[in-house]
């Protein structure tokens, strides 16, 4: 229902500390918030190359988690419409300019027999570092 809004147009940026990689802001394609234990995956494909989940972290309202922590996190939530920060590490620094950013979100929604979530991809310009 909100697939087209998953990848935020703004906020795509390199790491401030110079580590290779960056941050993309993402929203959950769902009409309510969910405890993080039900966020099964937020998969990133950057310029056609999948970024492994263990090279990403997930931040909601200032709290940062590894994806191995999410399944056990029942006391924090990704709120409806909230911009979360998906931070990722790459081998090489990101080139300035445009990048293809594809994000697929998989949610465990109890009343649905199949996984919920959605996918979005946008061409984003890296904000000046």
């Amino acid at each position: 229902m909100f697939d087209q809004y998953i990848v935020c147009e703004e906020g795509f940026r390199a790491h401030e500390d110079g580590r290779p990689g960056g941050v993309v802001e993402v929203r959950m394609p769902y009409y309510r918030g969910l405890a993080l234990s039900m966020v099964e995956a937020v998969d990133l494909v950057l310029d056609g190359r999948p970024v492994p989940a263990d090279r990403t972290t997930f931040t909601v309202h200032g709290h940062t988690y590894g994806f191995d922590q999410l399944p056990h996190t029942t006391d924090d939530r990704w709120e409806m419409g909230e911009r979360a920060q998906l931070a990722f590490t790459t081998d090489e620094p990101l080139a300035p300019g445009e990048h293809d950013v594809a994000v697929s979100v998989r949610l465990r929604i109890s009343y649905m027999p199949v996984p919920g979530g959605g996918r979005d991809s946008k061409r984003l310009t890296l904000a000046g570092a």
């Binding site: 918030g33 405890a35 409806m80």
Partner: protein, 335 residues
């Protein structure tokens, strides 16, 4: 036109403004104000949608919330609970955990001042039964949302009705979602499929099969035999999710019906819902003596957002102009 006396109240579920709330172009207060401005004074809220930090509610939030109710002349009509049976990976919530989850949402309803809690359709009947005394003590009714494709003869709903009639608990009841009365296929949905590249002749096939209330059993197969792909399959799947039956079926259970979710997909320029015949539904509610809220649930945004500006406020406004007419309210325009 004379309309029989009735006690139906108008309301809005803030679900209706999901597009604007998601995109932060409307605040929660904006949503309450928008409802009030169309005379829909009963506010239905989904705490998990509208209240960051759920299930914690701060005193500050509650004060603001009740302040808005006073300021805009609105009142809390209902809250919507979810039951996250799959909260933990790899295991199901126990019965006790499920009941605890419902109790927590009853507490939240009490604090928000809502007399009704929507129990989502996946709530098991034994959870309803176990939570009923707690809800009764709290002065809150726990109403099972009868959502498409369910209906009053469906085994799942029959199990719930068995609990309701056997226990006779005043806290238990039903909350029909009018998405169970989709007489014709919503055109916003088929138009979207066309924009997504669906073959027009297959869209016609799907829509006309639905509109004839024909056998959708093998619709996916036939769409495949006719050369359909993923977009057409998605539309065919939609056609098996909508249902139509006679709204009069509500009369038999009217004593249990405490709230109605007025699902809608498109209020046309002519002021009618394209696919759901509210001009037949509202008279049934009046005839049955329904005394709860008729509460808007706009769900068209997802089908038009790719190509058109979404205006949920206007859509809800139109629905309430229609309700005011069907309920025989004297409007300024008539005077």
């Amino acid at each position: 036109m004379t309309t029989p006396a009735h006690r139906i109240q108008r309301g809005v579920s803030l679900y209706s403004y999901q597009e604007e709330f998601f995109l932060r172009t409307m605040t929660l207060e904006d949503c309450v104000r928008a409802a009030a401005e169309c005379g829909a004074l009963g506010i239905e809220i989904i705490p998990e949608q509208s209240i960051p930090g759920y299930p914690q509610l701060t005193e500050e939030f509650l004060q603001t919330w009740h302040g808005w109710m006073a300021q805009y002349g609105t009142h809390p009509a209902a809250t919507d609970l979810f039951l996250d049976t799959k909260r933990h990976p790899g295991r199901w919530l126990t019965l006790e955990e499920q009941v605890a989850s419902v109790r927590q949402d009853v507490d939240i309803a009490v604090r928000l001042g809502a007399p009704v809690v929507r129990a989502i359709i996946n709530t098991p009947p034994e959870v309803m039964e176990a939570a009923a005394p707690y809800a009764e003590e709290a002065g809150v009714r726990l109403l099972l949302e009868v959502h498409a494709p369910f209906h009053y003869e469906h085994p799942w709903v029959l199990q719930h009705l068995e609990v309701m009639y056997r226990t006779g608990s005043p806290a238990l009841g039903l909350m029909p979602d009018m998405g169970t009365y989709v007489r014709r296929f919503p055109r916003v949905v088929s138009d979207r499929a066309l924009r997504d590249g669906a073959k027009p002749e297959l869209v016609d096939l799907i829509v006309s099969t639905y509109d004839d209330h024909g056998d959708t059993h093998a619709l996916m197969d036939v769409v495949n035999y006719r050369g359909g792909g993923p977009v057409e399959f998605g539309l065919a799947r939609q056609a098996t999710h909508y249902i139509w039956s006679e709204p009069k079926a509500m009369l038999e259970h009217m004593g249990l019906i405490g709230h109605v979710q007025a699902k809608f997909y498109e209020m046309t320029d002519e002021g009618v819902e394209y696919s759901i015949p509210y001009d037949e539904i509202v008279p049934v509610l009046i005839e049955g003596g329904f005394a709860g809220h008729l509460s808007s649930e706009y769900e068209g945004n997802r089908h038009v957002q790719d190509a058109f500006p979404v205006d949920s406020v206007e859509q809800v406004r139109r629905q309430h102009a229609m309700f005011a007419r069907l309920l025989g309210e004297t409007t300024g325009e008539d005077a």
